[in-house]
């Protein structure tokens, strides 16, 4: 009997007797004989806890995590510092082991935390409403397309090619089900040309661009938003929360929605998940939002309280007419985001952006490679490599340094471009080391 199971033999006997059956097997006789599984599961033998941990540590030891390799990998997931208070509260059993707060009187804490998260996301993005989180930075883009489809009645999706390739791939996977088609606008020298975006946006439901974009370059975001709107498409910015202490909020430059991957604020890298996608919009879109939304209300005695609200949007009420099929979301990861934002405060968020940007500027000076694009940047810099970037990565890694992402993996024309990410956890000395190793391997 597994240590996770609580019944004694005596309990079991008493319970079977109360039910009026002779054995546990009798309970499964309701399963037709032809579909009963009557052998033992062929899975590895049970491990006691100490042996289990040994097995897991053995597996983990074969991964080159960022405590073992000096890493400049980014491209959507970043090695930012996660404050200790995040660990404290994500291991509080009440937050960790609660379900979706359907019964608000049992769940005021998590409901209030989501309300505070929604407020923080609105402040960062300059929007009026935020949901309680989406799965990740890719699926919130598909959600935005579904909203735009119903808001505009149009079926065309415009994506900047400088939007993260995985975001574009997910939108393309979802689009046929929505009855939508996708067109992409190529970049010009590392950023998106507003005139080309405007042309593509005619008759489109939505135009999504990324700020800073996937090459690390700062897009002319206000011009792109205006260009999309000119064609009648909803302008949507895919943004990095860690940039929003220094970069303008999408709501301030005319976007209808702001979306993105929240990992950079409060989540570990965890080989890609789970993290939280955020989706915020202008107030007029509130009834088309997917997923949970928490609202303020009062109780019988007039005291303030919080509940899941506008549930008539949702699948458990509206079924096939719902705004989304989403039920499980990423609340715990969003809570980590909220705690981190509160820990940073407005000054800390600004300093975070300034430190990353200063390190990136220093890397531009120090790394002995040409810049791939002559554009302003935030925390990632694309360098041109003299040999294919994959080779540079392989050679640099032999020195215990991971220099970044070879963009040729996703952009066939950019085989000689290396994307280097700088977070506040790297130091100027780390950048010097990167520069020295690159110097050595490209000599």
């Amino acid at each position: 009997m597994s240590g996770y199971l609580p019944l004694t033999d005596a309990d079991r006997e008493a319970m079977l007797e109360a039910i009026g059956v002779g054995s546990v097997d009798d309970l499964f006789e309701q399963i037709p004989e032809g579909v009963r599984f009557d052998r033992a599961l062929d899975v590895p033998a049970a491990l006691p806890e100490a042996a289990l941990v040994r097995r897991l540590e053995e597996l983990a030891a074969r991964n080159a995590d960022t405590s073992r390799e000096l890493s400049f990998l980014g491209m959507g997931i970043y090695d930012h510092y996660v404050p200790a208070v995040v660990d404290t509260f994500l291991s509080r059993g009440e937050f960790l082991t609660a379900y979706t707060p359907y019964q608000p009187e049992m769940s005021q804490g998590v409901l209030q935390a989501i309300f505070e998260y929604q407020t923080a996301i609105c402040e960062l993005t300059g929007m009026d409403v935020s949901n309680a989180s989406g799965y990740d930075g890719t699926t919130v883009a598909a959600d935005a397309c579904f909203m735009a489809r119903h808001h505009t009645g149009r079926s065309k999706v415009v994506l900047a090619e400088a939007l993260h390739p995985q975001v574009r791939q997910v939108v393309k996977t979802y689009a046929p089900g929505f009855g939508m088609e996708v067109v992409e606008v190529p970049h010009d020298g590392g950023t998106t040309d507003p005139a080309r975006l405007a042309a593509a946006s005619a008759d489109a439901a939505i135009a999504i661009f990324q700020q800073p974009n996937v090459f690390g370059c700062l897009e002319p975001a206000p011009d792109l938003a205006a260009a999309a709107a000119e064609g009648g498409a909803l302008p949507v910015a895919h943004v990095d929360l860690a940039s929003l202490g220094v970069l303008e909020a999408p709501g301030r430059y005319g976007c209808a929605m702001a979306i993105g991957e929240g990992q950079s604020i409060g989540n570990y890298q965890s080989f890609g998940g789970p993290h939280y996608g955020f989706l915020a919009a202008r107030g007029e879109f509130i009834r088309r939002m997917p997923g949970r939304i928490v609202g303020e209300t009062t109780d019988l005695e007039g005291e303030r309280g919080f509940v899941l609200t506008l549930q008539t949007r949702e699948q458990h009420i509206r079924r096939e007419k719902a705004t989304s099929n989403m039920t499980t979301n990423q609340t715990l990861l969003a809570l980590a985001g909220l705690i981190t934002l509160c820990w940073l405060g407005p000054e800390g968020l600004r300093e975070l952006g300034e430190t990353c940007a200063a390190l990136a500027a220093y890397a531009k000076e120090r790394v002995p490679l040409a810049l791939a694009f002559d554009r302003p940047t935030f925390k990632e810099v694309a360098f041109r490599t003299p040999v294919p970037a994959r080779e540079v990565v392989a050679r640099v890694r032999e020195h215990g340094v991971h220099p970044g992402y070879p963009l040729g993996r996703d952009y066939p024309g950019l085989d000689d471009v290396l994307l280097v990410a700088l977070t506040e956890k790297r130091t100027p000395a780390d950048v010097d080391r990167l520069a020295d190793v690159i110097q050595e391997v490209t000599r």
Binding site: I19, Q30, P32, L96, K425
Partner: protein, 488 residues
């Protein structure tokens, strides 16, 4: 209780960010932030107290019994948390070269092998982020398979009237039409109604088995025949898989596509709403269509295969919610083949509660149940004006989280109860006593139920008001945020 924004005072802070002796980077003026976001300014001590107070006002499975039907609220073993926090997992970048991620990929491979054995289907993707995304993925797989066969006329998905709301919502999002099938008096799918609704336009069925009534569909073999004979496919919603692990396999029942909820059956904590994971298993015939990349084993080396020309594409970023995989893997390895005893105990616990409550609450389907069951408070409503909602709210005063209520829709005043294998007999007995006491209160002092709860941090909340005048963010005082403070 104050929201954290009300505790803010200008000039305070908790965290400090490293500042290096470097020149400031230039951000073009038209792209730079004009006004800082109004995040709270609060010292770490007060931040900790705030979130401690919020935790205190939240009820988790760690706090007490949580028989929320359909949600499988089982204990979340703490070694799983330790596992997910090992730096080699936690601090691994998803775009790390495969030679630097072999341990992660091998763990995912082993997890896939266990999932394959549990479902009785040969191929699996770990990518979907949640059960409902698994559903959508499954429907996309159907569309891709029929498109390849040139059968573009298959546009209809059949679901029972007991289905979770996610099923019909997924049908819409995937671009299919919905056909609903009735439930018989015994709680099974109505085969006659079903036969009338399956034709050449049918793409497939979405079914939860055991159903949301907690009943194993006795006609499952015939159901599978009806669809397969018409060339249609069967999708298994794994929400209730906790009932049958090691006892019956969806693949053996005739399902072509299965999703698992790692956050239900395999103990990923629910986190107040998420995260989850919704891996999908399929038949060999459907394997080419699985989301890319897929995980491949070449001898002792594991890699991600992006070259999948027939794939429906990517449904989520990277290789899926990895830390959920670590926890589920740890859970499964702790059990081994005794996973079957997990389901045995879940079913035993549910039937015990059913046996002890059936004389005080109405039982709409008089059968043994699987891992959960549905009672009705209809009699209490008729006789005393007390609703399922009132019963649920009153349970809170007994320190028990209410069951799922008003679902499935085919049962009026439904109370859907799922104890899981976690609960010892004494917890079950305490629940029985509470439910029986509440039924007695309904007769003797119904107002105590109608005003419940009485012993929570708030009284009953006005949900209608919240929806009518939505307040979904804190209302700062009507002043613009102060101009950015230049600190030199």
């Amino acid at each position: 209780m104050e929201v954290i924004f009300e505790k803010s005072k200008a000039g305070r802070r908790a965290g400090r960010v490293p500042a290096y002796d470097l020149p400031a980077a230039e951000i073009p003026a038209d792209l730079a932030r004009a006004r800082p976001p109004r995040l709270p300014e609060i010292p770490e001590s007060e931040l900790v107290r705030h979130f401690t107070a919020l935790a205190d006002r939240t009820f988790g499975i760690d706090t007490g019994f949580y028989p929320l039907g359909s949600c499988t609220m089982k204990h979340n073993p703490r070694v799983n948390e330790r596992a997910a926090a090992i730096p080699g997992f936690r601090d691994l970048h998803p775009l790390q070269e495969e030679d630097g991620a072999q341990g992660a990929l091998e763990m995912m491979w082993e997890l896939q092998q266990i999932l394959i054995e549990v479902a009785g289907l040969p191929a699996v993707t770990l990518q979907p982020a949640a059960g409902s995304q698994g559903e959508l993925t499954g429907l996309m797989l159907m569309r891709a398979a029929f498109a390849e066969r040139g059968e573009h006329g298959r546009t209809v998905i059949v679901t029972p009237d007991t289905a979770h709301g996610t099923n019909p919502a997924s049908v819409t999002m995937a671009g299919f039409e919905l056909a609903k099938v009735a439930t018989t008096d015994r709680g099974d799918l109505d085969l006659e109604d079903l036969r009338a609704k399956v034709d050449d336009r049918t793409a497939g069925l979405m079914l939860t088995n055991p159903s949301t009534l907690g009943l194993f569909d006795e006609g499952i073999e015939e159901i599978a025949r009806i669809f397969h004979d018409r060339g249609a496919l069967l999708y298994y919603d794994g929400a209730n898989l906790n009932a049958v692990v090691g006892r019956s396999r969806p693949g053996d029942m005739g399902f072509d596509i299965v999703h698992y909820n790692l956050h239900k059956t395999f103990s990923q904590p629910h986190g107040g709403g998420g995260p989850g994971a919704g891996p999908v298993a399929v038949t060999r015939a459907l394997e080419p269509f699985l989301p890319a990349p897929t995980l491949v084993r070449d001898g002792d080396v594991f890699r991600l295969d992006h070259d999948r020309p027939k794939s429906i594409g990517r449904v989520r970023g990277f290789a899926g919610p990895f830390a959920v995989f670590v926890r589920a893997y740890a859970f499964m390895r702790a059990y081994g083949p005794a996973l079957r005893e997990m389901s045995d105990t879940a079913v035993l616990n549910a039937n015990y509660l059913l046996a002890r409550l059936r004389d005080v609450y109405e039982l709409p389907y008089d059968r043994l149940c699987m891992h959960e069951f549905v009672l009705s408070a209809r009699t209490l409503k008729r006789e005393h004006g007390v609703t399922a909602l009132d019963v649920a709210k009153r349970l809170m005063d007994y320190g028990i989280h209410p069951p799922t209520i008003y679902f499935p829709l085919v049962v009026p005043e439904a109370l859907m109860i799922e104890p899981t294998e976690t609960e010892p007999k004494e917890r079950l007995d305490a629940f029985v006593e509470a439910m029986r006491a509440i039924a007695a209160e309904a007769a003797s002092e119904p107002d105590v139920l109608k005003d419940a709860p009485h012993r929570r941090p708030v009284r009953r909340l006005d949900e209608v008001k919240a929806a009518k005048e939505p307040v979904v963010r804190f209302a700062f005082e009507e002043q613009e945020a102060p101009d950015r403070i230049e600190t030199g």
